[in-house]
Amino acid sequence: MTALIEADELVRIYEVRRGLFGRSSPVRAVDGISLAVMPGETLGIVGESGSGKSTLGRMLLGLDPAQSGEVRFEGSPMPKYGTSGWRALRAKMQLVYQDPLAALDRRLTIAAQISEPLDIHRLVPKEHQAARIAELMAAVGLRSDQAGRFPHELSGGQRQRAVIARALASRPKLLVCDEPVSALDVSIQAQVVNMLRDLQEKNGIAMVFISHDLKVVRNIADRVAVMYLGRVVEEASSDVIFRLPQHPYTKALVSSVPIPGKPLEGRVILQGEPPNPANRPSGCAFHPRCPVARDICRTSVPALRRTGNGRTAACHAVAGETASVETLRRRA
């Protein structure tokens, strides 16, 4: 089976100016990321703020151009941003953001918002549009009387449902969700997560689910990639990665999740802050905070290597194959 979407050595560098007249310095937001998502599969992407996970999500959709590397959708390279080929492809891949109020037009009713992609991609003849909108609203659990409402009249959870209904309107094959439930209360969050899972199972949509909330990712993703400073440091199935994390950073992340009723003592509390991407530490970017860092970690960047059972990790302290995933892929 070929992957629905594949990223190959993606690099995105932003120029950031320090101060008003300062010199600009390059920030490697995404630094050589390769990944693949199968049809109907959910890939979770976790990491702290500044790890480049949102940039990666935008690059997968072609919204942010890659300085080097390539994104392939259904086997063929992604057309350039803004071209008609890219626009046609956008019907097959949609994006859901964290803040639904910002994603919705305040002056349009919910029904008008959901009908926009139908108009843009000319998917449904006018006379069938109302039926399709009603169908979409029912699919995300909105009541039919809410069609004429404006975004400010809905609650946060309902707004996010409206955004998802709009994203589903063009029957996408891929949904990139960037922190879709982070702004919602726990009880509503569970409703939306269940809904996303149901929609996905029913329609076979593949999903890239970006979140800093490990608990949510655990319950929605098939596979999880952990990012640190623009690189994937570990990737494994969500069944094992949270139970048996290999990379010291993943271990610390898992350990930092407060579990109700579990006291703080005995957990790994990482010291220090995530470093500034503009000032990346030498060698392994994680070494200044790593409890098991050795001399080699300060000088040489660990490559992402296979560590058995379909897992990969980028760490000198984790045993694995000697050849990196990249070289193996190139040889193949």
Binding site: S187, R197, R218, A252, S256, P260, G261, K262, L264
Partner: protein, 337 residues
């Protein structure tokens, strides 16, 4: 409960209304000296408003009634001078977004020194030495060199540490932390929770920890109040509430939290949404969402009554007590003592 320790703060029938819409429906709550109390609930349940009202920090259009006593002295309706004595001095408060609480155009050292002058009258070198000690205490590395930096030169986690340092400047008896870790990354959140625990052990101050995150609350608190739609619906020790929630809402909150361990299951949401304070349902506000509700729940509001086991509960049809064997299985490890 907290019978052994004297009460530091006592709230009685505290009510708040904005433009005639009542958002807080009579809060009775005690905070004992040195204890750590958690306030949990979803957005709009009134957990922040409770303490903003208690400290007189709400805007003028808010109508606050009831009683707020700090060491027996009435604060509600007190004069500004009396309030100023308590705010920052006896009770300090920190908020979710540290960068908007700090003055962006003042050097960080000066802001801490200002707090030291206002609350303790320290000036000059004495103030500087004390400010450096506080920065050191909250874990700002290399404090002397960073004394003259501006807030934007610190990260979010460090800004929250600096806010805590400023809050500690008045040597408060009570620190109110309103969602102090919500805006922070997971690894930084763990650091701040750890810091709050350490500081409480060192200074003996009491802590009110306001959060929607039951996990975070259980790491720093001894006692928890669960709030829903402007009322306290259940109160008890952390061990009690976490091992055996009795209010259906508390139970629902626990069930809705996705688990990081265990199998990948469907989540168990609470149906419906939090009611609009303008149109609160009759009777128990939770009854339209409650799986255990009966007809009577829609007409009479259950009062918060003390239970035999030391907790307080506002529910006519609470979740039944599970048998001993079941309870043991469900109590998370570490709480069985």
């Amino acid at each position: 409960m907290s019978a052994a320790k004297p009460d530091l703060v006592a709230l009685r029938d505290l009510k708040v209304a904005f433009d005639g819409v009542q958002v807080l429906h009579g809060i009775d709550l005690n905070v004992a000296k040195g204890e750590a109390l958690g306030l949990v609930g979803e957005s709009g349940c009134g957990k922040s408003v409770t303490w903003l009202a208690a400290l007189g920090l709400l805007p003028g259009k808010a109508a606050v009634t009831g009683s707020v006593r700090v060491d027996g002295r009435e604060l509600c309706g007190a004069r500004r001078a009396a309030l100023e004595e308590v705010r920052g001095g006896r009770i300090a408060m920190i908020f979710q977004d540290p960068s908007s609480s700090l003055n962006p155009v003042l050097r960080i050292g000066r802001q801490i020194v200002e707090a030291l002058y206002i609350h303790r009258g320290l000036r000059g070198d004495a103030a500087r030495v004390e400010a450096l000690r506080l920065m050191d205490m909250v874990g700002i590395p290399d404090a002397a060199r960073r004394f003259d930096l501006y807030p934007h030169e610190f990260s979010g986690g460090q800004c929250q540490r600096l806010m805590i340092a400023m809050a500690l400047a008045g040597q408060p008896d009570l620190l109110i932390a309103d969602e102090p870790t919500t805006a922070l990354d997971a690894t930084i959140q763990a650091q701040i929770l750890d810091l709050l625990n350490t500081l409480r052990a060192e200074t003996g101050m009491a802590l009110v920890f306001i959060s929607h995150d039951l996990g975070a609350v259980s790491q720093v608190c001894e006692r928890v109040c669960v709030m829903y739609a402007g009322r306290i619906v259940e109160e008890g020790s952390v061990a009690q509430l976490f091992s055996e929630p009795r209010h259906p809402y508390t139970r629902g909150l626990f069930d809705a939290i996705p688990r990081i361990d265990g199998p990948r299951d469907r989540l168990i949401p609470i149906p419906g949404t939090v009611p609009n304070p303008k149109h609160l349902p009759a009777g128990c506000s939770f009854s339209p969402r409650c799986p255990r509700a009966v007809d009577a729940c829609g007409s009479d509001y259950p009062h918060l009554e003390p239970q035999g086991d030391g907790r307080r509960l506002a529910c006519t049809r609470p979740v039944p007590v599970v048998t001993r064997g079941d309870a043991e299985r469900r109590i998370p490890e570490g709480l069985m003592s």
